[in-house]
């Protein structure tokens, strides 16, 4: 044991490592007692790393359950959490969708499970690459949702997430961009066991299946009280708006670096134009903001770290002075448009700012500085049509060709295959 603590002490040093391995190490130091998971790209390396730590005894006591599906993964986490164990799982994409029924049970019952979502697109068409369609589809599932900008922040958010979850007795999703963060090799400071123990006390459940003091959890509730129980879900989640910044501030005092919080403004205090986004794309956006600032453009960015609960007042306060808001999001609501954009518009209601919804980075399409410069030049030149959903780098010719096909021929065939044939793509790849 002494050897182990010395080793983990030394490992606190900043190290060049894969994002997934760093998250696995950080989660292990949060001392989860049950991990139930089913592998799916791009989350696999995280649970592989954790299963290794359980196998070698480095993470003990901990029960690692290799279950048969994501539905089972979340169900086992629910059972474990209700029995008083600190429970963790991770998933992505279709895996998240497969556990949806259980997600609502976890939040409805108020069980403080922590889950990593390694953000990935949702099929069809099947696609393993990054966007936010998966976690955005569950934004209203009653889970708290935190979005990491960097691998370091993903690591730090997991420590904060357990604390937050257990304080409120609510489940927390830590969203990190699949591949872009999970598979990036970067310098990361993984907190030591002593550091984590100092900030994260042992799990003291608010409700517990305890043979000595028997209770039931999961009663059927009829019209007499269903709304009240549901209201409490909402009221409890809204408490996170106070707790998230408190925990972030406690974290930064203990660790000497800033991670998490509700929002992260970047050079936006005096900006006329503000870009709003979530996740790792903020790094590229900040680079573009710096370049435009050098040209004298009054532009900034606001990163949303906590999307649920939605920090409406903080977002309003951070954007209200701007004339133009460009929301760049890696998902959209088919049939209406931007998701984050709608939320931002809600925060700005009654103010005159123009909010542009831009969908970008779907299914792993790279969001480049070049594309962002082009987009922002259009925004600054008032060339973005108000009220119209903009798709960054959309290949209109490809779309038009397929639309023409559907007009000309009844049995025009499947879109995905038609478009891949037009492109001459044999085996799909990101480049």
């Amino acid at each position: 044991m002494p050897t182990r603590s010395t080793r983990s002490g030394r490992r606190a040093l900043r190290r060049q490592m894969e994002g997934s391995q760093a998250v696995a190490a950080a989660v292990a130091r949060c001392r989860p007692e049950v991990i139930s998971a089913y592998p799916i790209s791009p989350q696999t390396h995280i649970v592989e790393g954790l299963s290794d730590l359980v196998r070698t005894g480095e993470l003990a006591p901990c029960e690692y359950l290799m279950v048969e599906s994501e539905f089972a993964a979340m169900s086992a986490a629910i059972g474990a959490s209700a029995a008083g164990a600190r429970a963790y799982t991770a998933t992505a994409s279709q895996g998240l969708l497969y556990m949806v029924e259980a997600l609502y049970n976890a939040s409805g019952l108020g069980l403080p499970i922590v889950m990593t979502v390694a953000n990935r697109a949702i099929g069809a068409p099947i696609n393993i690459w990054n966007d936010h369609s998966d976690s955005m589809s569950q934004r209203d599932s009653g889970w708290i949702q935190l979005y990491a900008e960097t691998t370091q922040e993903a690591v730090d958010l997991h420590v904060q997430a357990f604390k937050l979850a257990e304080e409120l007795s609510l489940p927390v999703m830590v969203c990190m961009d699949g591949f872009i963060l999970t598979h990036a090799y970067e310098a990361v400071d993984v907190p030591t066991q002593e550091q984590v123990d100092a900030i994260l006390p042992p799990f003291e459940p608010r409700q517990l299946l305890d043979p000595d003091e028997p209770v039931t959890i999961g009663a059927m509730v009829g019209p007499e009280a269903f709304a009240e129980v549901k209201y409490l879900m909402h009221a409890k989640q809204m408490q996170a708006l106070d707790l998230v910044p408190e925990i972030a501030s406690e974290f930064s005092q203990a660790f000497g670096r800033s991670s998490g919080g509700l929002i992260h403004p970047y050079r936006s205090a005096d900006a006329d134009t503000i870009v709003v986004a979530l996740g790792s794309v903020l790094g590229t956006i900040e680079e573009v903001v710096d370049e435009l600032r050098e040209q004298g453009v009054k532009i900034g960015a606001v990163g949303i770290r906590c999307f649920r609960p939605y920090p409406l007042e903080e977002i309003r306060a951070s954007l209200q002075h701007a004339r133009r808001i460009v929301v760049i999001e890696k998902a959209f609501a088919v049939g209406i448009g931007g998701i984050v954009g709608q939320n931002v518009r809600l925060a700005l209601s009654g103010l005159g700012a123009q909010v542009h919804d831009v969908v970008a980075g779907l299914g792993g399409r790279a969001i480049t500085k070049r594309s962002l410069h082009r987009l922002l030049a259009d925004a600054l030149g008032d060339r973005l049509e108000p009220g119209r959903l903009t798709f960054l780098d959309l290949d209109w010719e490809l779309v038009e060709r397929e639309l023409r096909r559907t007009r000309e021929k009844r049995r025009s065939g499947p879109h995905a295959e038609n478009i891949l044939r037009d492109l001459g793509v044999v085996a799909s790849g990101s480049h």
Partner: protein
């Protein structure tokens, strides 16, 4: 910022090469970011990995389109992938092959670059000799250390041993050292230009 793009095929350790390079740069106190192209990896399929090295924090998350250096682990990709796209005339190019650029039919193409920054190296042969396996990634990093000097051989050695402790690491280090010496000898020759 110095940006490296590594091309190869699934199974050749392309992603590992980029990771090792980032570990080597980190070991020198620099900031580094390595990442793969995130394809459906399978043995033999073209794979690309990237590594950025800088003296300040790296926030950029886009793929590398304008590399300062390109490392090609498998010359059979020449006819399949646009390996040199975005490589400027000041760029470094390292190709794993026992043949020369002329023999690869690239003599015309390479004239636009600086001769002392281009090299073919028989990395597969060196790997076979030291590892008994045709895995050229560590070999090429040894060669790259000599050619570009962006990271030192010592840092490459430390990176290999960090990721592969034990016999595998030692053999890869020996292979990288051999490639470093080979490359120093090659570029030490009077410049044809």
């Amino acid at each position: 910022m110095f940006q490296v793009r590594i091309h190869g095929r699934g199974g050749q350790g392309v992603v590992t090469a980029a990771e090792l390079l980032s570990v080597a740069a980190f070991g020198e106190g620099r900031h580094a970011q390595a990442f793969p192209t995130f394809g459906s990896e399978r043995t033999g399929a073209p794979v690309v990995a990237f590594c950025r090295i800088d003296d300040k924090e790296i926030r950029l998350r886009e793929p590398i389109t304008d590399p300062d250096a390109v490392i090609v682990q498998d010359p059979t990709l020449l006819h399949q992938v646009d390996l040199f796209v975005g490589l400027g005339t000041e760029g470094y190019l390292l190709v794993n092959t026992s043949r020369s650029f002329a023999e690869l039919g690239l003599d015309e193409f390479v004239r636009r670059f600086r001769a002392e920054r281009l090299l073919t190296v028989p990395a597969t042969e060196i790997a076979r000799e030291h590892l008994g396996r045709p895995v050229p990634n560590a070999v090429l990093l040894g060669s790259f250390a000599a050619l570009a000097g962006v990271v030192s051989l010592e840092s490459v050695r430390a990176a290999i041993l960090e990721k592969f402790p034990g016999e595998t690491g030692r053999r890869n280090v020996a292979a990288a050292e051999a490639a470093y010496a080979h490359t120093q000898h090659e570029i030490g020759a009077p410049s044809p230009a």
